[in-house]
Amino acid sequence: MSQTPSAGTQLTVAEKVFDFVDERVGLRLLTAKMLNEAVPGGSRWAYVFGSILLFIFIMQAVTGVLLMLYYVPTADHAYASTQYILHDVDYGWFLLSYHFWGSTAMVVCVFAHMSQVFLWGAYKKPRELIWLVGLLLFALVMGFGFTGYLLPWDQRAYWATTVGVEIMDKTPLIGDFLARLLKGGATPGQMTLSRFFVIHVMVLPAALIGLAGLHLFLFRCAGPGGPFRGTPQELKAKTDYFFPRQIWKDVVGMAVVFASICAMAFWEPVVLLEEATPDPGDYHPEPEWYFLFLFQHLRLKMFSGEFGQFLGAIAFPSLLGALLIALPFIDRSPERNIFKRPIALTLWVLFMVSILIFTVSAIINREFLD
């Protein structure tokens, strides 16, 4: 606006409040700095996943706090209080199911987000630190899934924890200590529930908020990577700001994710199994579908025996993690175009195909177990 405000201009209350805050903290400037972030090559639908993850996390925090109004983290009340949420509290089934499917959406979107960064070569200089903090955030998301799974204290919860902690126990030297530390004893019980609960609702959220902030800060320091095709002049010509075009796309993405999670909560609401006990009865322990490939590969002959198990449960996943950490330091070529990075493309395709094969074979295996 080029007009200068005349003496007669009446400010609305909202404007006065805004001006009051602006005068003290520089809100206008801050907002401008937040929103006027140049997106090289222009906004894209492909860039929505970061914002979507933030949105999913906020919704998990909101539904999580609401669930805690009724949930009691004790071995004798956890199951009953969860059932109470599901069957007696108005819309409890919806909030719990939203929280459950929200966690699935989180895993799916983290996976998409990381795949994109990998394929776009966005982990390369100067964005190595964003990638590393991103890997930590990925670990936190896994931690959320693992600790949250135990809380309903049903058979599924109990056995996922039993097997998961036994796997951790196979870490050389510190495994036994680590497993007992997490379980608060030799076998899963009240101490395990207490520990998982505090990790799930206190430790991990605090860590995630801090690291997500750092992730964003580092992102703003380096700026978005932009597309891997196009000359600097072309990219500059198409560049726009984060607001309004990218925010519009992000918001539409969030709405789609929200609607999908709600739809899953309606169609497949959470149903608990029997209350947790060390006697599995007829229950066949199995992790969530996105962990099936990990679960299935431990059934392989090459991962049998004590050493094989160490290879499959500890060495192989650790090696994968180490490779991901080392990635920006191994792959130092500035080339970002995935079609000019044959090794990266081959590895990614191989990884996807093996996940697919192991997941499908785990599903096929189910039939032979009944």
């Binding site: 036994d176 608060g184 004893g185 030799a186 009865g281």
Partner: protein, 310 residues
């Protein structure tokens, strides 16, 4: 109007150079000094009081060039730039072209010796607070981690429910546990009992009695090699799931764990799958009337050698 960076500086008698830096007062938010480069020679810091007029590209001074030259040289180290420090609200009052904008380093901060010492002192204080906490906190979280073993005999039922030799029969029982401050609770557990034929018995005991010792090494119980009842812990030695007695299409009746498909024969031997050791045999007593008692032990899963957990 504030003096612009790069504008010419003219003294009463002649031009002396240009404005290279502007020094702001962090309290009044006014420009307090300009820094003048004396035509490429060293820089002089000239107070605004010596400025007569400020124009777009010219700063006119009252003093003569010799008076300006007589000023002490500009000391860069006494100042920090705005990038290094944030003075709330200052930025809004700056109206000079880009360049260094300075505020004076406080008197007390000049020539401070032992900066490194003070920095290290903060780390030492951190350790001083943190280190004494390590042991108590570690002990605090470790309290329930290494509970003593429960070597009580558990009554689990009567062998009358076993229908055939060399087949697995599940015995469910309730084990009383006392966890921390909680009231004593009963948890459901199970073991598998096999009434073994001599051939299977031989595979399990290999001609020797099986001794069980407590944590101190004292013998708790000995399973005699000719007692035909064998109790297996309900926990799969692969990764701790619960296994079942199942009919396998190829292998016939076997113990099968649905988690990672470890398969054991009636003697507990691994015949297929990833398990690193046979099923764990437990101490067992059977009375004349067929009542079975066991000591409920659990062993760490995933290891070749047994290591007791519970």
């Amino acid at each position: 109007m504030q003096p612009q960076l790069k504008s010419k500086v003219r003294c009463a008698d002649r031009d002396v150079g240009e404005v290279t830096k502007v020094i702001m007062d962090p309290l009044s938010f006014e420009v307090s000094h300009i820094v003048v480069s004396m035509n490429g020679a060293s820089e002089r810091q000239v107070p605004m009081g010596a400025v007569q007029t400020v124009m777009d590209d010219l700063v006119q001074l009252r003093s003569s060039s010799s008076e300006v030259l007589a000023l002490p040289p500009f000391k860069r180290d006494d100042y920090v730039t705005l990038h290094e420090i944030e003075v709330p609200g200052l930025e809004k009052h700056i109206d000079v072209t880009p360049g260094e904008v300075l505020v004076p380093l406080p008197e007390l901060e000049r020539n401070v010796k032992r900066r490194k010492f003070f920095a290290n002192l903060t780390y030492v204080m951190g350790l001083f607070i943190g280190l004494p906490l390590v042991y108590p906190v570690l002990k605090y979280v470790m309290k329930p981690m290494f509970a003593p073993f429960d070597n009580q005999w558990q009554k689990i039922g009567n062998v009358g429910k076993i229908k055939a030799d060399d087949t697995g029969t599940q015995f469910e029982f309730k084990h009383k546990v006392k966890e921390a401050y909680l009231p004593e609770a009963e948890i459901e557990k199970n073991v598998w009992i096999v009434k073994a034929t001599p051939a299977v018995l031989e595979k399990v005991y290999q001609g020797k009695d099986m001794e069980f010792r407590d944590a101190t090494g004292k013998t708790l119980w000995t399973n005699k090699k000719d007692i035909p009842f064998i109790a297996f812990s309900g926990k799969c030695p692969h990764l701790g799931c619960g296994y079942k007695w199942r009919k396998h299409k190829v292998l016939g009746p076997v113990f099968l764990c649905p988690c990672h498909v470890s398969i054991y024969d009636a003697s507990g031997k691994v015949i297929e799958g990833p398990a690193p050791r046979p099923l764990d045999v437990l101490p067992i007593q059977v009375t004349e009337s067929g009542e079975v008692q066991i000591i409920d032990m659990e062993f760490k899963a995933g290891t070749r050698v047994q290591s007791r957990m519970v």
